[in-house]
Symmetry: D5
Subunit: 148 residues, 10 copies
């Protein structure tokens, strides 16, 4: 039996060795590449079918598929303020625009939040003559605060 | 002369008293409501025209317009890990999905980042029979790492 | 116009001077005393009717009622690790029993969380000959992780 | 002789391999599944009988039973602010509702705390047509502050 | 009506101006000087009689007596690691001897804790030809961990 | 040659296997059990005689005795705010009563501190019909601040 | 296959054993020595040609070249406030002169930032009779804040 | 007499009202604009002549000149990790390139540091068809570690 | 009655206005200038005679003298890691040379510490043709660890 | 080839086994024992001659001598606030007396710092009938702030 963390290490080694992309594995699994990346990196749990499809796409043994079905302790960053510049920019957006995002969502929906559980992320490359753009879309169910 | 922070306090008081939305002020300014919210909350700087349009929409005096043209020290949160649940969810997304976002952007673009400066945010309410959804779209220019 | 924080200060002063309990105000508002305490302490937002009922019960002016309808920036503790012994015990429960709570909820429901938004708290005094007990009940909707 | 931490690792491996639930092991031990989970995860200490019953239910050797009788250094989270979303929600509840919980307990009992030692946790799945709910009940003895 | 914090400031000013010791006020209140100091410094709550006796001993008005009966948000230090050398030594004792204290209490009592609520502190000056000693005695009820 | 940390691990394993208490080892060493626990847990340094007596009582080899004579880098807790509930209560006492302890010691002695070096800890079990009590006594030399 | 971190360890060992400087390796790679140092220390990613040239200059095997082409999780310091005195001085410059640098850049360019991605560092030794000077030059593209 | 901080507030208000740049004040003072900005923002101390020239250029009274001659407690940022994006980029450079800068300086100079005291900063706008660049030059005396 | 902090502010204003040095006030008080600076800056407590001598030297009223006799809550820095470069260098010395200082003191004295209470600081300017030197001397009583 | 850290471990083992003091090794190296301790503990770099003399005095192989010539990443403490009581006292001195030291150095020298690079530490045992004293002397070149 191998741990969730060992499974991730194995997966990334094989993925690199075979030159597979997350998009290719995602196609085999039948889900979006961001979600598949999250599951392979230990941040989401797969069904048995999804896990076996992923393991098959990578050519890995059943115990990796078993590990992918465990519910992980989530958290992909080493510190609350990430240092890696790509990840930090998302932290900066929250720090700088957090109050604006909060104000606008409250104007559109009232008191509540955007769920990070009933939630999807999409990432696209958008061509632009001044330089291509990264377009990241968060779609989360609005959860109104319950009163009781 | 009033400080940037006093200007924000004044603006929010008048906005509430008059029942104005960011969308209405944004229309007067001629820009997107998220950006206008950011500028009014002290996270972006307006041109003279934008500032006067905003002050006029709110019925506020010229010194508020002057304050809105200053370049602020940015940062809208009191701590690196925000406590407010709506804002925290954006922090959580970065903590949980940060490694996946990084992996996918690198597969799509190579080594570099999504700019948080040449950057836009859009927020929409998307109707859904199972519960309306908050759709937040980040669009940032991809900046490849320069080699030298 | 008074700020949310000034409203809280006013409310607590009057509540103490008149010897009112949260239970009494809650009855006037028509909601549970824990929720009413949260709203009065700046952690939830009231409807116009609720706010006027609360202000009337306390004998406070309309601007307090207005403040109670604003959506607050939530967070009632000065630090991530609270020092006050009563509040700290709840922090300790999370630190000590967090892994057990996580394990049992996942066994009962699968991957997902207990919502802290679609959520209620009840607090009761339960008589016990060996010393009365505090019974705190959290009831939150289970939110399964969405796959996409 | 094996350490408390190695015992936990062994237990979780065997539990997963045999497909046992905490509820099943709890039945063998004769205690509540949340407490049994806490003991197996290194947050509580078992009597000799309880430890042998647990080891037997899992089919593990006596040294695991010995480890389960040691009094552990408690603490199940890696940081004061947990990142895992399920556990974080409990942290958020304390941050947001801590002042309300404190106010209500003081109104019901006077100055003192809810014990986290003479304390029980129950977790139930409550069916609900709008989505099942997680019901977590804390029952702790009220400890009045001693004056001297 | 004055706040708990203003009451403390008033008390300390008058105490200094009149040259009163905590021992003298404690005698008037009929309780131990450490507990009285804690109550006057905003870390414990007095009964009406105790509060009036304390206010009378200091020659202060009834609203101070009222403030002393409120249940405070406890915590007398500005940071988790206190800088003041006298207070730091108590922090150091916990850091250096904490594991030994834990080991010995568990050997004497089993799994559980020393209560900090059903708890008393005594401080004495013990004469010693090599230099007088500070003798601080903590007496807290042992609370065994409840199993359920 | 073994490190101080390995010596502690060895000692605790043997102590558990042989069912020895700190009190028994302390008797062999000829010192108080709290101090002996501190030395065995890597927080104090023994003389050659003490170290050999301790090693003999445990039936351990000379290199353990050598390790016990080294002066350790002290500190028995993993973080400034300990999570383990027994140890945390001592932290809480400092946080809540620190200002009172400081005030009383200054009234009894003037400006200075209780030494944590010329210092002793005693821990006793005191029978009490309402529940036995843990009595912890700190005795430290008063060190007046030197003026120069 | 070896990890990025193992590659760095190997590179530094061989570099020391062969007495090579970053300048010499940089010449082989055809890039600036600061960038080459960054790539070899795991803070930038090389093209295949660059990686093979670097591996050849060091006499290292192809798997090191493979590792140098991976996009690393960036971050070369163990803590947000570095302790090493040379690195700390750069932290100090930001802490002390940060507000001045911000003010001057805004006067020269308006609202925006100096990119740390489209960015170069040069380090030179400048002879000076009073003591040679370290001259560090940062050149980053100015990125004006986008309005939308 | 006014404090250093009040002087800064006054200076910035007048500077804005009169539309003066740091470059213009620097010319009056006879020093580099970055240093003059640092002195006006409370991070460096002026001679009497410099302070009077600065006050005269701004049309401010002698007490501002007096304040500018005091040696300040330096530090221009509210936290160790600055949030403002322009300032953060300098923090990021230290975090990402710190190990490379250290390695290259040691190869050029041996063991020692770049002084942040015998130190100058220059900031220039460099025109570039692909987008103008910010060129920041640090020049600090190399200080070799003294052996003794 | 004025607080300790107000006394410090008054003292520093008058000291600056009259152009007095700590050395001059120290001469009037009859103690070392570093100790006098510490007392005036709120880090030590004066006797009545010392306080009146200091107040007289500054031409300040009796209530300042009263404040100087209070025992302060000590701590002169805003954070555990000071930002001001002069003070930071002392922090750096502890961080870099702390293990060496510990090792040498233990070799010279055995297990124990240098007291920071029975302690003196002297600061001298030592002329040196290569640049004058700051000579700071700490003299603290060695306190051996007590065994019990 | 061995790492700097392994070299330190080796050195301390052999030093203990042979009963050598830092003073004895320092004599062989021809430098002060505090500096030699710093170099052996990984906080300073030796010349080839010094390193070979140190290795010879300890009877260690050439690769240790090679390691001692590397320039280390400096920092001897695990945290910004050290827990070990001996080292903490130096931290406390900076926290309590930092503002006084800053004030006196500025009165003696003007604006600038005591270098921690062009710097020496001496530690002596000074006999005293009331208890021997630790005398620690810091001698650092005064570095005046450069204006430009």
């Amino acid at each position: 039996m191998i741990s969730r963390q060992e499974a991730t290490t194995r997966i990334l080694e094989v993925k690199k060795a075979k030159g597979l992309t997350f998009a290719q594995i995602a196609e085999a699994v039948g889900r979006h590449q961001v979600w598949v990346a999250a599951a392979l990196l230990g941040q989401a749990s797969m069904s048995a079918d999804e896990a076996h499809a992923a393991a098959a796409a990578l050519g890995l043994e059943p115990e990796v598929a078993a590990a992918l079905q465990e519910i992980p302790t989530k958290g992909s960053q080493e510190s609350a303020v990430p240092v890696d510049p790509l990840v930090y920019r998302f932290h900066e957006i929250t720090q700088v625009y957090g109050s604006s995002i909060k104000a606008i969502i409250h104007e559109l929906f009232g008191d509540g939040i955007m769920s990070a559980i009933d939630f999807e992320i999409d990432i696209q490359r958008k061509e632009d003559p001044k330089g291509d753009r990264v377009v990241v879309t968060y779609s989360g169910k609005f959860l109104p605060y319950r009163k009781w």
